[in-house]
């Protein structure tokens, strides 16, 4: 490990150090505010450390981590997203009653796992990063343990996470047995020849790995956990599960597919395509049936990951660009949506405002909140003035570039179905409220920090939706320096 190596992995180091400080702080004094401030400062410093790291990039640090523009950009993204979750959660936790300071330690740990995943270029970092991402999430999901719902959600998540880990490990073992290496780059070398090492064993391995990851990404048909977990987890954590964990896992999946040369195989492409279509259709159709906002968003996220897979399949720099933009847009949008749920539920004790009926007439009681929610829903639907618009263009363009017409068709059909339920929510928000229901939704006052975060997220949502050039420029730059074979 040379100095440059340390410099390159500085974000990981800084976050690890921040984490230790938070834990030590908790050990010395149990104080919610102190832990929150320490964690926030830690995240800011980690974000700042991306610049020094960029000086050393692109660089392979041990066989485990590849620090390049792609990794740094995504790291920045998920650090920012974690920061937003932290701010949103702060107010939410204050009203929760039970001790809240471990939350921040767990949040930083999950983020660390995410960073490791994003930079991972080796099966070992793949697996360890994934687990470091998952385990603290369990704690976060079950955080308010007095009502049974979070605990149930956490147990479901635990069991499925274990299942997916098993699939993943078995898949890795098969691939390793075929190629004799666990480094992505060397796998590509081992397969350099035409059809070299691409036998049934290898395909089984890749399929198992992909299935394991599909659990985490809640791709259909591995999406069964998603609604329950989303519903059970506290709202800011749900945002985190939906955004940070999925972004990081997706980032790694893309790197694996690109760097290890998994693309360019018709069987694999077919498999991913089938997953994509299934997710788009299943997610959207199931979302139609929901009367709970969190469950609805859960199924909509299934569909969105299907769209992401369409972008994913574009291969090469185009895929990187499309995926990065989509992840950014999806992240900002989803966080804004869950931010609204969080703000509404803040100060409401342990019951959250999630029933669709609670939102009736929100536009007239809390116009700004409703505006933010409507904008985020429009963004999820991919309508203009929001980031989702360009994200959908990217996904569709990626599908067209590879001439995958079934995928494009599913994207269109899915989007139209999607519109229907997003509009349903919007309609409810815009309806005049009845007398008795508003009382519950009125209770959520939100914290100043939460509201400010929400405002910031919505601002970004609109700004990059109207003028996407800065984000696109940044992403294009990152995609160029990914340093792939």
């Amino acid at each position: 490990m040379s100095g440059d190596d340390i410099l390159a992995i500085l974000p990981l180091v800084v976050l690890g150090a921040a984490l230790s400080i938070v834990v030590l702080g908790i050990a010395l004094r149990r104080d919610h505010r102190q832990a929150a401030i320490l964690a926030a400062v830690g995240l800011v410093l980690t974000f700042a450390s991306l610049w020094p790291a960029a000086l050393a990039a692109p660089r392979q640090v041990t066989p485990l981590f590849a620090i390049d523009g792609y990794a740094l950009l995504l790291m920045g993204l998920i650090i920012a997203e974690s920061f937003a979750v932290l701010l949103l959660a702060h107010g939410y936790l204050q009203h929760l009653g039970s001790s809240a300071d471990e939350f921040y330690a767990l949040l930083l740990l999950t983020t660390l796992g995410g960073l490791a995943l994003i930079a991972g270029s080796h099966f070992v970092s793949f697996f360890l990063g994934l687990e470091t991402l998952t385990i603290p999430l369990l704690g976060l999901i079950a955080y308010p343990s007095d009502p049974p719902l979070p605990l149930e959600a956490a147990i479901k998540y635990l069991i499925l996470a274990a299942m997916s880990s098993a699939l993943l490990l078995f898949g890795m073992a098969l691939v390793y047995s075929r190629l004799g290496t666990m480094e992505f780059a060397r796998m590509a070398v081992a397969q350099a020849g035409e059809g070299q090492g691409r036998d049934l064993l290898w395909i089984s391995g890749v399929a198992l790995i992909f299935s394991g990851v599909a659990f985490k990404l809640s791709l259909a048909p591995f999406h069964l956990w998603v609604a329950d977990v989303y519903e059970g987890a506290p709202a800011p954590v749900t945002g985190f599960v939906a955004v940070v964990s999925k972004s990081a896992v997706f980032a790694l999946l893309l790197r694996y597919f690109l760097a290890a040369g998994v693309f360019r195989d018709p069987t694999v492409d077919l498999m991913v395509g089938v997953f994509a279509i299934a997710s788009m259709l299943a997610g959207n159709l199931l979302a139609l049936l929901q009367n709970n906002v969190k469950r609805l968003l859960a199924y909509s996220s299934v569909a969105h990951l299907g769209y992401l897979l369409v972008a994913f399949l574009a291969t090469g720099a185009a895929a990187v660009e499309a995926v990065l933009y989509y992840l950014t847009a999806y992240g900002v949008t989803t966080l804004a949506a869950f931010g609204v749920v969080t703000v509404l539920s803040t100060g409401n004790g342990s019951t959250e405002i999630v029933a669709l009926e609670d939102y009736r007439g929100l536009a007239w009681r809390r116009p700004w909140l409703a505006g933010a929610f409507i904008l985020s829903l429009l963004s999820l639907a991919g309508l203009p003035l929001t980031m989702g618009f360009f994200a959908k263009i990217y996904a569709a363009a990626a599908g067209i570039h590879q001439g995958a017409w079934p995928l494009v068709g599913a994207l269109v059909v899915g989007s139209v179905i999607g519109l229907f339920y997003y509009l349903r929510v919007i309609v409810v928000i815009c309806m005049p409220g009845t007398a008795e229901i508003p009382q519950r939704a009125e209770a959520g006052t939100g914290s100043v920090l939460g509201l400010a975060t929400l405002a910031g997220l919505t601002g970004v949502l609109v700004w990059l939706g109207v003028y996407p050039a800065p984000a696109v420029g940044l992403i294009r730059g990152a995609a160029r320096v990914i340093g792939l074979p």
Partner: protein, 487 residues
């Protein structure tokens, strides 16, 4: 930069109106009115900055890495349609002056945002920018229907949105594919209309892409199999919403066909023309027939729109100078006459609390002014010579007759049917014994009279001296026909 302001004024006006409504609803009304007058004024000052075919043009980078540019340009066609937009915008603000009493600020915000989208659609020359504005119109329109609409507004709004958005996604796919094909030919990522005109497409692809565009526009127009959202949306929307829908949103479909479908895919369009014209004729007859069968006033007017827009479709695909001039005239005149009818129906509904013709009758005595004006617009709509609609429909028929006499003949039959429903409307609502709806509702207020006066003047002008309009539009149409490379 004038063009940028054309887009920005309604947008800023809308935001301002929304914010100002906190103080007093009147502020919102006045601000939107002022904004739209400013828009009108901006149009009427001589536009400069254009070169070549365009009256004005602005071309700024928007999302450079994606090849999307903020490219706006105005020719005679756009000019005429934006003028219509501004006028109808003013009229709808006036029409909803007393009708809308709740959430006034948000209403005007949505109204002006819709107009922003419409203006943008008429100006955009970058395909993705066009799509952006195309989608932008929908959301506020959706809100207009869903918040201030009538009984079945949710159903109508969602239906409207799904239909148009479904078409919109096809459009998006087609645009992206087109750009991608161009990229394969020239290795340039662009969505620029003028550049994409140069693309060479194989016949099969050609037709598929054309269909993608066509369906999106045909839904909006609406051409017959795709029209089912329209009666619902028009019926349930508030008056201003109906006016904007019928007067402007439908025109964007026609504009899209004129501007994009035929120039971009001339060969496919030639092959497709008979089908499209068939759809047009079907729309004319079908719309007229159904209008005849309605008891709901607003539905009647809505179906009459289907019928009138059939002429537009017919004329566009006839694709000769005469027919196209007729199309433009029809679009303008229909905007005024149908808009006026919707305002009148709105006024009636405001007074009688019903749109059911069965419950009306004999209103001539209680509301002579309203009745007289309604009579005027009804006959305008049935195509009385001397008024704008007649010019438009007649020119379309003449133009079509040159190409396809059979279609022209069938369309003319539809024209007869339109006389039936228009007169039926007058007869049922205003003649006959008064039905006891209790009390004598007040007649039209001066504000309404002013609005109606403007529209009547416009229609008479279009009918009596259409030549200035043709002169203004002609270069734009030449423009399009030149692009289209069709003999």
């Amino acid at each position: 930069m004038t063009l940028v302001w054309l887009v920005l004024i309604p947008l800023l006006g809308g935001c301002l109106a929304w914010l100002a409504a906190r103080r007093s609803p009147a502020w919102a009304r006045w601000i939107s009115l002022v904004a739209l007058f400013a828009e009108l004024a901006l149009l009427l000052v001589p536009v400069t900055g254009g070169h070549g075919r365009w009256l004005a043009e602005v071309d700024l980078p928007w999302a450079p890495p994606l090849g999307i540019r903020f490219h706006l340009a105005m020719d005679g066609l756009s000019f005429a349609l934006i003028l219509l937009t501004a006028v109808l915008g003013i009229l709808s603000v006036l029409a909803s002056w007393t009708e809308i009493t709740e959430k006034v600020g948000f209403f005007h915000f949505n109204l002006l945002l819709t107009l922003t989208g419409v203006v943008g659609v008429f100006l955009a020359l970058d395909l993705l920018l066009f799509f952006f504005f195309w989608e932008l119109m929908l959301i506020p329109m959706y809100f207009l229907i869903v918040v201030w609409g009538h009984e079945r507004r949710v159903y109508a709004a969602i239906k409207f949105f799904l239909f148009t958005q479904g078409g919109g996604l096809l459009l998006l796919i087609a645009i992206l594919t087109l750009s991608f094909l161009y990229f394969r030919q020239s290795h340039v990522v662009t969505f620029d209309y003028l550049t994409l005109l140069k693309i060479h497409l194989s016949p099969g692809t050609d037709t598929l892409l054309m269909l993608g565009f066509f369906i999106a526009f045909a839904v909006k127009l609406p051409a017959v199999p795709f029209h089912t959202w329209l009666p619902d949306a028009h019926t349930e929307a508030p008056t201003a919403g109906s006016v904007v829908l019928a007067g402007l949103l439908l025109k964007t479909g026609a504009y899209g066909l004129l501007r994009f479908v035929i120039p971009l895919f001339p060969d496919a369009s030639v092959h497709f023309a008979p089908f499209a014209m068939g759809m047009g004729v079907a729309g004319i007859i079908y719309g007229a027939t159904l209008a005849f069968a309605q008891t709901d006033l607003k539905r009647l007017v809505a179906y009459s729109s289907v019928s009138h827009l059939g002429f537009v479709l017919l004329g566009i695909y006839a694709w000769n100078g005469l027919a196209l001039q007729g199309v433009v005239m029809q679009m303008l005149a229909h905007g005024l006459s149908t808009g006026a009818l919707f305002i009148l129906v709105g006024a009636l509904q405001e007074r009688l609390k019903t749109r059911d013709m069965g419950k009306m009758g004999g209103l001539w005595t209680s509301m002579p002014r309203l009745a007289a004006i309604a009579m005027f617009f009804a006959v305008a709509s049935l195509g009385l010579p001397g008024l704008g609609d007649f010019v438009g429909e007649f020119l379309v028929l003449l133009g079509t007759y040159r190409i396809a006499p059979a279609f022209a003949a069938a369309a003319a039959a539809g024209l007869v049917a339109s006389a039936l429903y228009a007169l039926l409307l007058i007869q049922r609502v205003f003649h006959g014994p008064p039905s006891g709806t209790g009390g004598a509702p007040p007649d039209l207020a001066p504000r309404h009279l002013f609005v109606m006066g403007i529209m009547m003047a416009g229609l008479v002008w279009f009918g009596m001296a259409p030549q200035p309009v043709f002169d203004a539009v002609a270069p734009g149409l030449d423009n399009i026909t030149a692009f289209a490379r069709i003999p």
